[in-house]
């Protein structure tokens, strides 16, 4: 998933489409635009198009790559259930919840979709919020919103809890939040700062508007009665101090709702928008915030990447991931084209160098030496090299032969002939001396394969010897013929 610049949230509540685009910048939120439509002919596709979203099936992926699109699902047909499970792994909890759902719900498992969210572990027990809805209803909804490829489908009631927390000063961990629309009221139970149950009542602000001056009327009584039933359903009937927040745009109608609830013994209070940290292109009023409270809440949720939202559509809708646009260099076609061009260039350059190289060298040589001179120079150089190989350094040989012998050894002759070993003759005082002489010669540079024959003169006791050895490569017939 890439980094989103802004979030577009669209909902259909009270038969009215509402959409906002929210941008987060430097920790502050900015509403870029708001749009609503009460036109009965407008559907999800039409409204999404009105909001500037691409709704064509062939639209390229990434058309709305800079903004995330979120659709809100009305939880009127969704059942919430609160239970506790022993501390266990996700798979075990899943199994327990499936089992509970099968036993408690009237529909077979294949006709329902459920999702759950676990709270923090307390006393080896874990509170779990379960949301269940008919699969068919969810599939129909997916069919409606798929055209504008939302990245997420979130529950409206979760959006209400979110905006209550962020822009209606919702600082209580446990509370009941009422979001009153024109013809209905969304009642959300908040536990540990998160939605744990929600119910939709079919009494709206318009039902109160007509009765605004008479407090104990049939509507208010019915509303108070419904609320008691809801709290009973939530399991909070005996919690008198549980705060009940009625989201309000500041008008008197909401005050009358709160009054009726107070009269019914509930700890009700009005929650008005606090728009610190919220900016907009045009001036924002409390009414505006209130009107678009649910889509703004959903957009806030979408920005919260770590939010553990209840996702009823997990198995029914796989959103398109924002694909990071790959650099054109990674395209195989471009790579092949570049390689081909490089190869052609290489061939051209090689050709040009091979064609131009010899002629340029010839020109330079012609400028300095003539062709005849050039050939002569080459021949001369080759001859010098040959002569170098043919010329033994006899002075060096005499020096080595002389230095290797110690006092007492007298040399009488030395014979060198190419292709034959060097031969030296002489006299030595003892065999040891001769042996040392042989050893010294053997160790001398350029001399190898030293052999000698010796005879002792009976009269003088001197040893006459003849020694042979190879000097460099001049003694080898093969080497000489090669050279």
């Amino acid at each position: 998933m890439g980094i989103w610049q802004s979030v577009v949230a669209i909902i259909n509540d009270d038969n009215e489409f509402k959409g906002v685009e929210l941008r987060k910048q430097d920790g502050a939120f900015e509403i870029l635009w708001t749009r609503s439509s009460e036109d009965a002919d407008v559907d999800w596709r039409g409204f999404a198009a009105e909001c500037g979203l691409s709704v064509e099936p062939t639209a390229l992926e990434g058309t709305d790559s800079d903004r995330m699109i979120v659709a809100g699902f009305n939880t009127a047909g969704t059942i919430f259930h609160r239970t506790t499970v022993p501390a266990a792994g996700d798979k075990e909890i899943e199994s327990i919840i499936q089992l509970q759902a099968e036993t408690r719900l009237p529909l077979p498992p294949e006709q329902i979709e459920l999702t759950w969210r676990a709270d923090q572990l307390r006393d080896e027990q874990m509170g779990v919020t379960i949301a269940v809805a008919r699969k068919e209803q969810l599939q129909k909804f997916v069919g409606k919103v798929r055209c504008f490829k939302p990245a997420k489908i979130l529950l409206n009631s979760e959006g209400i809890v979110k905006i209550w927390e962020v822009f209606f000063s919702g600082n209580k961990d446990n509370a009941v939040v009422l979001s009153t629309g024109s013809h209905n009221t969304q009642v959300c139970l908040v536990e540990e700062g998160r939605l744990s149950n929600a119910v939709v009542l079919d009494i709206g602000i318009e039902d109160f508007s007509a009765e605004v001056t008479e407090e104990q009327t049939e509507t208010t009584e019915r509303f108070a009665q419904d609320m008691r039933s809801v709290l009973d359903l939530f399991g909070c009937s005996n919690q008198d101090e549980l705060p009940v927040f009625v989201l309000s745009d500041g008008s008197a109608s909401y005050v009358s709702i709160v009054s009726s609830l107070r009269l019914a013994g509930l700890n009700a209070r009005v929650a008005t928008p606090d728009i610190n940290g919220l900016m907009a292109k045009s001036e924002l009023s409390d009414e505006d915030i209130y009107q678009y409270r649910t889509p703004i809440g959903l957009a806030l949720m979408a920005f919260d990447a770590g939010a553990d939202e209840l996702n009823l559509f997990e198995r029914l809708y796989i959103p398109m991931q924002k694909v990071a646009q790959r650099h054109w260099l990674y395209s195989p076609k471009v790579t092949v084209a570049i390689v081909s061009i490089m190869l052609v260039l290489l061939a051209i350059v090689s050709y040009a160098v091979d064609i131009a190289g010899p002629s340029s060298i010839e020109k330079r040589l012609e400028a300095s030496v003539s062709d005849v001179d050039m050939n002569l120079l080459v021949k001369r150089q080759q001859l010098i090299k040959t002569v170098t190989r043919e010329r033994p350094d006899l002075l060096d040989l005499l020096k080595v032969v002389n230095e290797s012998g110690e006092r007492g050894i007298t040399l009488t002759s030395l014979s060198f002939k190419k292709g034959q070993p060097v031969s030296i003759s002489g006299e030595a005082s003892s065999n040891d001396q001769l042996s040392r002489y042989e050893k010294n010669l053997q160790n001398a540079k350029g001399i190898e394969k030293v052999n000698y024959t010796a005879n002792t003169n009976a009269k003088s006791r001197k040893i006459t010897f003849t020694m042979t050895f190879d000097y460099k490569n001049f003694g080898r017939k093969t080497a000489r013929s090669k050279s």
Binding site: T386, R391, S415, F416, K418
Partner: protein, 172 residues
Amino acid sequence: MIEKLSKKDIRALKFGIIGAVAIILFVFGSAGHKRWTKAKANGAVLRTKLDAIDVDKARQAGLMSIVPVFEMPQVEEEQKFLFRDKLSEQLKRAGIRNKPLQVQPGRKSPQSGYKLLLVKCNATCQFVQVLDFLARLNENPYLVGIEEFKIKCDPKKQGEVELDFTVSTFAI
């Protein structure tokens, strides 16, 4: 117009274009290839020549220490005269009184295109004179190498040696 063509026609057209391009490439490419091959061969010959004459400084110094002077070989008669003359001069300079130098035809030349001439010398002299002669022998610009070298001393005659050597030169 292209819309009116069938898939087969388009395929045939594609093959035709590919064939035409291949023919053009072959015609011009083969001429270019010939030129390229010739140029490469010329380049290789030139590079070989350059390699032959372009020796690095250290190697050149090594060559110069062994062959400090060198004259290109002349025709046999002239070369024979020049080499013998220079060798006599070197012997004389070393104080060696030699017997007349004998010129002999040599063995197979180590350098194709040149004959190898041998000059044989016998002398009786002092050992020091031999050393002096050998030290200056490389200064003979016609010398190729010492083919044979024999030195024998008589213990009874102090310092006197019998010298017998053969040196070679190139000739055309």
